[in-house]
Symmetry: C3
Subunit: 297 residues, 3 copies
């Protein structure tokens, strides 16, 4: 990751629902997103901007670990320019751009953001890239490479599958190509990756299953469409006690082996060397870091 920020959860709520937005700090997602796009009805697109700014200001005055972002409407819509202008006045960490499809879109948006930052004498805003269309999936490597301020990307499986004219299944085979590709692009640009949402908000087993899939594929966290999913996401994306224990034992076995001049050794039935040692170190470091963030919260 480029910086020390956390990316386990991306809790999103509609920009026209001030009551919901003001609860962000209570649920403490790593990223809280005020949604001007699909979450906001067409006839409130303008008024919701004011609510978004108001929410951002109130959230900024409260202490809490959550970094606040605003999701604007998509490139090419009649709303995005005014969205950017409005939110550039708010004390937010950055913006989320949904339905990105081309490098040109991200380049133009970043040019606009620089101008707005100068105009408002404000610190730079980060960007979370929204990839949820067929062209977005196709172009994500270039889109991420052209961004100078992306800290993360999210993969939106529902919009993607609708755009593909496909259908969703519980095992997600229909998005494996796209979901893999977005995670790969994130790593190529050293940014974090948020996995798609689980819409079945009362089905914790399904959330856990899908979150584990995303974690295996290289995602650091997930979109949460309900506050109860934040805790589940932090649970799944943190190394388990069992993983930390095994990693600790593996590192000890590797050290003992190296002391004998042997770089590849058998450990609990597995031949281990370079990559497994690095993964174990990563797991232990991640567990420490996430534990500190919980204690600190």
């Amino acid at each position: 990751m480029l910086n020390s920020a956390l990316y386990r959860s991306f809790l999103i709520a509609p920009a026209n629902r001030l009551d919901m937005l003001l609860k962000f700090h209570r649920f403490a997602p790593d990223v809280g997103v005020i949604d001007l796009e699909d979450g906001t009805p067409l006839n409130e697109k303008e008024s919701a901007r004011d609510t978004a700014v108001q929410a951002a200001e109130q959230l900024a005055s409260t202490s809490g670990p959550t970094r606040i972002f605003v999701r604007t409407n998509a490139p090419g819509t009649v709303w995005i320019d005014d969205d950017l202008e409005a939110v550039a006045k708010a004390p937010i960490a950055g913006i989320v751009i949904p339905k990105l499809g081309t490098t040109r879109q991200i380049v133009e948006i970043e040019r606009r953001l620089r101008a707005l930052e100068v105009q408002n004498s404000r610190p730079p805003m980060e960007i979370i890239l929204g990839i949820e269309s067929v062209s977005g999936v196709h172009n994500i490597v270039d889109i991420a490479a052209h961004s100078t301020r992306a800290c993360a990307v999210y993969f939106g499986a529902e919009d993607y599958t609708t755009d593909l004219l496909g259908y969703r299944t519980t095992d997600g085979e229909e998005v494996l190509y796209a979901r893999s590709r977005v995670a790969i692009a994130a790593r190529l640009s050293s940014i974090a990756a948020f996995d798609t949402a689980t819409l079945e908000i009362r089905d914790d087993d399904r959330f856990r299953h899908e979150a584990r899939q995303g974690r295996n594929l290289g995602y650091q966290g997930r979109i949460c469409v309900h506050p109860r999913q934040v805790e589940l996401s932090h649970e799944i994306f943190s190394p388990s006690e069992e993983e930390v224990d095994r990693s600790t034992r593996l590192l000890a076995a590797n050290d003992a082996s190296l002391a004998k001049g042997i770089a590849v050794c058998e450990f609990e039935g597995q031949m281990i060397d370079g990559p497994l040692v690095k993964r174990a170190q990563h797991i232990v470091a991640l567990a420490t870091r996430y534990k500190q963030s919980t204690t600190g919260a």
Copy 2:
């Protein structure tokens, strides 16, 4: 889709089998393909062209919903030039080019087709791109982008896997990357996508299973290697009653929610907004369209 044509089924029969070809209208696939390539033995490659033209003429004089295409031999073979010249005289909707591997091939074929259309004073022929080699899968996005008259693409898993030196399984994991990629390329160029065939012609459960997989992945229909598969294909690629019912209820719930100024609502356990609403609209529209085509047939 670019036009109002249907793409649920692509029934293919050998060009040297006039008896089989003349039954196309009875089975009423959306697309009927007269096959000069793998379906025609080497020693009948020339004579089969005449049969193909004869079949096309007789089929054109019969009323029926099926659009007739001819599959020529592959680019680079000694037959393709004469194939194109012969079929350009026939009253067909278009041609199917198997084993496309490079953009150059499609560009040259389309140049040739334009010349033949002028020469024969005939209406333009559409093209269905055949992607069934490793290079075809690798280059499909560019191939589709370079075509000015492709209406669809098909993915041929058997040829592809043979070219890959791989082996076929029932779950198709070995072609998931390629099958996903072809569907994505089709959407990027706004053309239809036909999924690979099921060769086990007496195994309806297998056909249904594989057809559902293809539909989830974004395909609109399938290659049918036996007439009995046409009906199965139409069954699976049409929205089910259950899907239409749920979509109708979902749209009503969304309307009711929007009336209260809420753009994201819970519906039967799922949080729904933009993409699910669009998919429900697509399902309802598709069901209506396919029902009309059945009534009309």
Copy 3:
């Protein structure tokens, strides 16, 4: 494949373990790899070069079917230049370059090899490309296309998944995209592909399962991290008796059908034509070739 060499097994052992290296001919892998990279501890990186050369010389003087390669340290490390210089003096078939990420790396290494070959008046060395990073997977098509002497590529799932910040599962869904992509790139450049290793060295069922997956995906063999895996690998990557029998029957049925002027016929429940006939021919040829190699050994 470009040449007649075999690629069913890639047995790797640390360069600082002369005892293990000298057993290569006993286990008779198709490729035996002396590992200067992850298999060699940091404090033996220099001394292991001498052991590697010594092992290569002793193995060259023994008769055996195994072709000997040396895996150098990765591009960009402080060791690779001296590795190349040292191994160019040894009687090896070629080198294995781990963690390739860019075309530039392979171009520079090949330039260096040409110079070393002139300097040592030795025959050209082949290269096995090691793809086991996110950038390697992303760039593999170009890397393979830029290589003038690659005979094969290997996919390393453990390093890849660690680089991706992902986690390994038994079904390997998290590497399906990458594993598919590497096999495709190998075919595009007409080189062989070695599948990733199974680290659970006592779990033969798991090895067989993963080896079958790799074979389906287009791999010709596997990395073996323990001698016992060589035999398993040859077992799985050779056509089974059942496959050879079925292929022989299929070819006979196809011939009988062609004699009647029919190029597509039903065979044991399947509609068969071009691709299935080619695959059957490939299976029969492969079985003959592998049987000869066993008899010859």
